[in-house]
Structures are given as C-alpha cells and as structure tokens.
Amino acid sequence: MIALKLAYRNLVGAGIRTWLNVFVLSIAYVLIIYFNGLMSGWNREARRDTINWEIANGQYWQKDYDPYDPFSFNDSHSAIPSVFNSKIDEGKIVPILISEATIYPEGRIQSIVLKGISTNQKILKLPTYELNVEIAEIPGIIGKRFSKNTNLKKDDLVTVRWRDANGTFDAAEIRIISVFNCNVPTVDNGQIWIPLDDLQKMKQMPDEATILVNGDELKVNSEIVGWVYKDIEFLVMDITKIIKTKRIGSSFFYIIILALAMLAIFDTQVLSIFKRQKEIGTYVAMGMTRKQVVTLFTVEGAFHAVLAAIVGAIYGIPILAYVAKIGFKIPEGSDDMGLAMADVIYPFFSLMLIVSTIILVFLITTIVSYLPARKISKMEPTDAIKGKIQ
C-alpha cells in the first residue's frame, strides 16, 4: 500500500513528463480498442449478412460441388432427395441449381454462373419474388456489383449461352428485372439469379439441384447419400480467416504507438533510477529491502498504465461511442475484393475487448517498468546515498 501511495506521489510529482507518457499510452489504449472493435464489427456484420443472403442455417452440397471450381458446376447436380420434399413445401429448405454459362453484354463475351432459385423462397434476403413475372424472356435479378461490372441495368436484355445436360449448346435472352443491393459478393459477383423451374428446363435437369439451403434450425438427421451437410461455421470460415488476417495487419498501427509509449516509459524509468540514486539509497538505509525498492519503481512505472486508462476513458469513451454510432464509411470499391462488407461498418466494443486491452497494456507496461528497475538490486546503498554513478 505504501508502495502504491509513494508511486502515485512520485508520478504526479514528476509533472508534465508523466502526463506526456500517460497521454501517449492512452492513445495506444484507444487505438487498440478502436481497431479491434472495427474488426469485430466487420466480422459480425459480414457473418450476419452472409447468413441472411447466402447460407441461412447451413447448406447441403451435392457431393461434387466445389464453389471454388466453376468447371465442376456442370457436373455437380442431382435429383433432390425425397426426404427434403416436405421441408421444401414448408419453405424451410430452398433448392438452388447452379450452372456455368456465357453472356454477351454489349457484344463482349463473359463467363458467368447461372443460379436457379425458387421464386417464392423467404429464407434468403434475395428479392426472388421479383422473378414472379410473365414475360417472353427469362427473368433475372443481379447484384449491384455485377450490374456495375457488366453495365447491365434494370429492363436490359442480355443473351445467355449454356450447355444442357447432354452438352448441347442453347441460347436465350434474359431480361434483368431488378438490381439488388447486397453486401455479400458471393451472391452478386459474376452471377444471374433466375427462376429454378426455368433453369431446370434450360439444363434439362428436372427436379435437380446443386445446393439446398437450410432455413430450419435443425438439419435432417439421417445421412443423405450424394449430399454433404455444411454448417454455418464451415460456410463462414473464409470470412473469419480473412478478418483474422486483417486484424493482424491492422495491429501494425497500434503496435507502433504502443511501442513508442513503452519506449518513453522505459526511458523515464532509466532516467528516474539514475536521477534518484540518493533517494534509493535513503530507502534502503531506512530499512526497505532492495526488492521493496524495485517493487516501488515497478509500480511507479506500471501506474502509467492505470492513469492512461483513466485519461483514455475520459476522451476515448465519447469518441468511440460517437464512432460506434455513425460507423466507419468504407471507401468506394473496397467491397470488390470478394468479402462481405457493408457501406458503413459499425465498430463493436465488447466488455471483453476493453478489459483484455487494459490487462494487456498493464502487463506490458509493468514488464517494461520492471526491466530498468532490476538495476536497483545491484546498487550499493552507501554509494547510492553519496550519489555515485554505479
């Protein structure tokens, strides 16, 4: 307790030097919490949007389906197992048929993926109800990214060429019924959504599908031959991994600030021990053990972290609360990198994040404060009182 009181008095007594260190360290606190909060917010939004727009509660994949190999799409289709029929009727499972195709927007050739989906589905946020139109052409909906890349807009016609189940070429016109705004590139980039019935007819694959999106809380228990179940954790694994990598990348900024703060504290400690040799000698002469003096100086250094947490809270809480409210606007084009990203990311600051940051910074500061203080244990008290350089 004495050590704490003394440490506090010494620190405050050091004046501007202490407050400069505390301020820099408080910036490190705020930045660590901000960047991690931003990543957590992004992760939460990306996960939520992917669930809402693409994966629901999980998916059954036809055994040959590989989303990373478009060449496999034409071979990865099977008849929908009868065990799912009742769930499909109840709207708890949505079958999707996926096919490779080629479109010719403005006479340019472009490979795309055609996705056939039930127009009455309500599991995914895709506006498939808009496909319920009676027109001569095949109705299609596309995402804003694909619209931008191909220059296709609402009511535009585009020729699509595909091969049916027998490998025979066929071609037709697709009319773009609407362009939807979605943060999930994997349901947007390079693909056109059309009614499932139409695609099944085009491909000559009646009652067949490539994936079955599960909107039900539970998966079908029995093993389904030819189909593999993929749960949410598997389906969002890529997002989690990418955001984890981004988190490590963004830590670069606050590691620099933290390093600067630690360097300042280290320097302060070295300077204190050098300038306060007589004080150290007096402590020992008055009966304090060397260990107690080391503890005193270590606590003094570590107290920077406590003061920085308080200072950081004074200006950090209002700033971070404001940022959490207005969010972080993502620059134009950042969402083209294939990862779910909203126009504005709202950082999420959890109690866990704040507590773990405080503990982490406190521990690092204590270690950095202790390292120079070790020198005290080697000091001769008589020489120290005389102020001899040791």
Binding site: F71, Y104, I109, R161, G167, T168, F169, D170, A171
Partner: protein, 244 residues
C-alpha cells in the same frame, strides 16, 4: 393423252431428282474432296480483338481425323508451344513452364489463344454424316457461286450443335459457309470459306473466317500459307515425347 402427260411428268421428276443430290451425297462429295490420309499445313491465325489484332503462325502435321500435332512458330510469346491431339484427347506443351498439360473436360470449352475457336471446335471430328441427318433445303448464291443449302439436324441429343446449315458450291463440292445454331435456333457461330484453290486434284479453301455471332468483333481468320497432302509423316511426332 393424259397418260402420256403423266409419264412425261414422272420422267421429268426423276430427272430433276437425279440432278439434285441428297444431303448425304453432298456431304460424301465434300468428304471425298477435302479428306486426305495425311496433311502438313503451314498457317496463320489472325485473331481480331476489339482493340487490336494478333497473328499466330503454326505448322500442323495430321494423319486422318484422329492424329494431329501443331507447333506454334510466331509470335515470340507463343513460339515453341506445341499441341498434340490423339483421338479425343489433347495435350499442350508450353515452353515457358516446361510442362505438358492435358486439356480435358470443361477446359476444352475454353478459347484457343483468345480466338473465336474453342479447343473443342478444333477437336471436332468433321464426319458429320455419323451425327447428323442432312437435307437439301434449297439453293442460294454465296460470293457469286451457286450453292446447295444443306440443313443438318442432330440424330442424338448429345451433340454440341443440334442444327447446322452448310452452303456447298454446286460445282466444286466444297462448303462456302457454315452456320452453327443453338437448340433454340439462335445462330451461334458462322464460318466463311474463301480463296477456293485447286490443289492437286482437290479444291481447298485457303482462307477461313470463324465468327462467334453473339460476340462483337471481326472474328478469327485462318489463312493457309502452304498445304501438302498425302505426305509421309513419322509416327514419332504423334507421341507425348515429341512435345518436349
């Protein structure tokens, strides 16, 4: 009198029928004119893009329909690339990677060096009689030549193009135009044959223009600089060892 007129009409009809060959006969005549046991062709492929054109030079050795070996001679970027076709299999050797790659499955549907031709188009066996029912639907003039218009309908469902139309020169029995249609009837590809030249005892086009009809652009020109028929070709050339 009536009977005499009927007999005259029947004889006349028979005469007209004898003058109009059937679709199968026309395809047979084309085959006889163009097919050879072996060929060595030096050619240029001019690929017209939206902004610029590229010219690729190649030399091809082939025996019948099932064996072909092509070596690209120019430009420098493609020089040394070799392609081997055996039956329905295709391998490519790229000197930059020093590897032999087998082109199979869906990769066969990719464009050959950015041209309007796919590997599959190149691999296609020209024996159309086996796959199609041919019917002569009329006569038309192409490049001031009188042509039979032959419509081909696939016999089975597993044929890439269900409908084809071929315009065949009535005198030379060589196609001057071919159109490939989707099942729905949409025109997908068009091939025009120019500079029909007498080479030995056969007529042969020295310039062929391939065009993907859904795509903008001037298509891909295939120009034959030299073609030699019935040449002795070493069998070694049609092995994977010859690719490297």
């Amino acid at each position: 009198m009536k009977n005499a007129l009927l007999v005259l009409f029947l004889i006349g009809s028979m005469f007209v029928q004898a003058q109009n060959p059937t679709g199968k006969e026309i395809l047979d005549r084309i085959d006889k004119n163009m097919a050879s046991k072996s060929q060595i062709v030096t050619s240029k492929m001019i690929i017209h893009g939206q902004r610029s054109s590229r010219t690729i030079e190649a030399k091809t050795w082939s025996i019948g329909e099932n064996k072909a070996f092509t070596e690209y001679l120019a430009p420098a970027r493609e020089k040394g690339t070799k392609m081997l076709k055996l039956e329905d299999e295709l391998w490519i050797f790229s000197p930059s990677t020093d590897r032999i790659i087998k082109i199979s499955g869906h990769m066969l549907r990719q464009s050959v060096m950015g041209s309007d031709l796919s590997y599959e188009d190149m691999m296609e066996n020209s024996n159309l009689i086996e796959k199609y029912d041919a019917v002569v639907t009329g006569t038309e003039s192409i490049n001031d030549r009188n042509c039979w218009v032959v419509e081909l309908q696939a016999k089975t469902a597993d044929v890439a193009y269900q409908i084809r139309k071929i315009w065949v020169d009535k005198d030379k029995y060589i196609p001057l135009r071919e159109e490939l249609y989707a099942k729905s009837g949409t025109l997908l590809k068009k091939t025009d044959f120019f500079e029909i030249t007498k080479i030995g005892n056969r007529w042969y086009p020295k310039k062929i223009v391939f065009k993907d009809m859904l795509k903008k652009g001037d298509g891909t020109e295939f120009i034959i600089d030299e073609i030699l028929f019935e040449q002795a070709i070493d069998e070694y050339i049609f092995t994977k060892a010859a690719l490297k």
